[in-house]
Symmetry: C2
Subunit: 314 residues, 2 copies
Amino acid sequence: MTSPIAVVGAGLVGAGWAIVFARAGHDVRLYDGDEKIRATALDGIRANLEGLQSFDLINDAGAVADRIAVHGDLASAVAGVSYVQESVFETIPVKHEVTQQLDEACSSETVIGSSSSGIPASAFTENLKGRSRCLIAHPVNPPYLVPLVELVPAPWTHSGVIDSTFELMESVGQSPIRIDREVEGFVLNRLQGALLNEAWALFEEGYASAGDIDKTVSEGLGLRWSFMGPFQTIDLNAPGGVSDYAARLSPLYHAVAESRTDPQRWSDALVACVEHERRQHVSAEGLKDRREWRDRRLMALAAHKAKASKKLGD
Amino acid sequence: MTSPIAVVGAGLVGAGWAIVFARAGHDVRLYDGDEKIRATALDGIRANLEGLQSFDLINDAGAVADRIAVHGDLASAVAGVSYVQESVFETIPVKHEVTQQLDEACSSETVIGSSSSGIPASAFTENLKGRSRCLIAHPVNPPYLVPLVELVPAPWTHSGVIDSTFELMESVGQSPIRIDREVEGFVLNRLQGALLNEAWALFEEGYASAGDIDKTVSEGLGLRWSFMGPFQTIDLNAPGGVSDYAARLSPLYHAVAESRTDPQRWSDALVACVEHERRQHVSAEGLKDRREWRDRRLMALAAHKAKASKKLGD
């Protein structure tokens, strides 16, 4: 028996979460205050479920869709649920208002996880009665194809809340990580940002085209990183493991860091250059189709990873 | 008709290059000055070719192996070849000595590419008569599974040498990129270093375990990056493309950069912590097997990417 889950906000992120929980067997109550969004949410979900089925990632798209019910009334959506995944528009006032409503509507046992990608929970839960049951559970988009979830407590989040959310996320097939305390960008966007900042700087200084920098990742670094993290990778890149690697290469990496102690903003002119280069490959009108292509590639990759893990191990 | 290629140095990197060129139909002359290395080089190559065949990445391992001849005489190895891939031990004196020998032994038309991962060509080719035909062609390991090759000119490298090496690399199925001029770490290791430096800092400050930082990449960022680069990725992560993304998120990434303007070295104590954490998962004695596991996963991934590209497009 799995308990029902409420997802609050039926946009792209919320609809993705509904798939995650329903796929794992939970009944999902998908709430949105906007009638227009409610009217079309299930169509988008069904299309994505059919995609998942076509890649053998689920067996029965219809059965999964049947576990998702769209709600227009918040109180009935959250009645009796053990977990709410809040996925509303990401501004502090909106997060604050919705989380306050949730804190009032939910039973005191219910955990409230926010999909916030940047705003920490302390910025919108401080004055809530039930603030200790609030945390960030930040997914990657779309969460049913990229399993990482960052769990970030506010200073007042109860440790048991982190533990139970960690277990829930693992039980539905996600890959949760525990972040000790709030930090700007959490872990995922800090790692992405570090690489992006270097990429923009190399482009700005004329060392390589944006396309060649992209290739360095998509035909180089990204292959190993699709199944091993950065520490696991370097652990295998020197005969004696990570400490051997550090002895050989940390001076180089320190020099790289020392060359970037005066970070520049991504200038408008620079962004316009990359925008122009990208639009040669994908038109502005074509971005939507390109996102669908990316999701199909992610589906194929998810199917591949499941097979490779089974056959070759992790 | 493809012309013969010489690979100088039959260690791990050189043996990998021999596979790349022979797989594409070139006769390969694999030179090493060390009799012991010569004696076993082909055994390792054959084992890797059988692995490639088991993943349907090549049709006939024996035919590929038959195109590789091991040489103990440099002059005969390079006679009449249009390209030499130098892959000797990476110190300036060794690179300098071998490249000087090559410059004397090769016809004036032969291009000499170095596998150097860090030492720029200007550090060991300046005083050579044929310095304009020397460049860096830095692979990722193993090159027959990770196609990226960084082409980096010295200030005196002839532009036609870059062009012809670019064409050669594409013709054998690699993914070459052009780097405009020398820069410490080239592009790949600068991008890797930026992410690694942030990873070490987050670990040092106690935000997350090394295992959770690894997961952030292997179950998060690395999935998209296995088929799209960083610019291609963010181009799809905001409705209006890369400029829309920059408008929304560049302040966050600038703040990340501003928080790292006093870069610390990877301290011995810190490295020892990660070494200890890694050894809980893979023993020191198990690293060799783990590298073989990684290569099998890379083979499976290469087969997957080829299929996904064909079915879904790039």
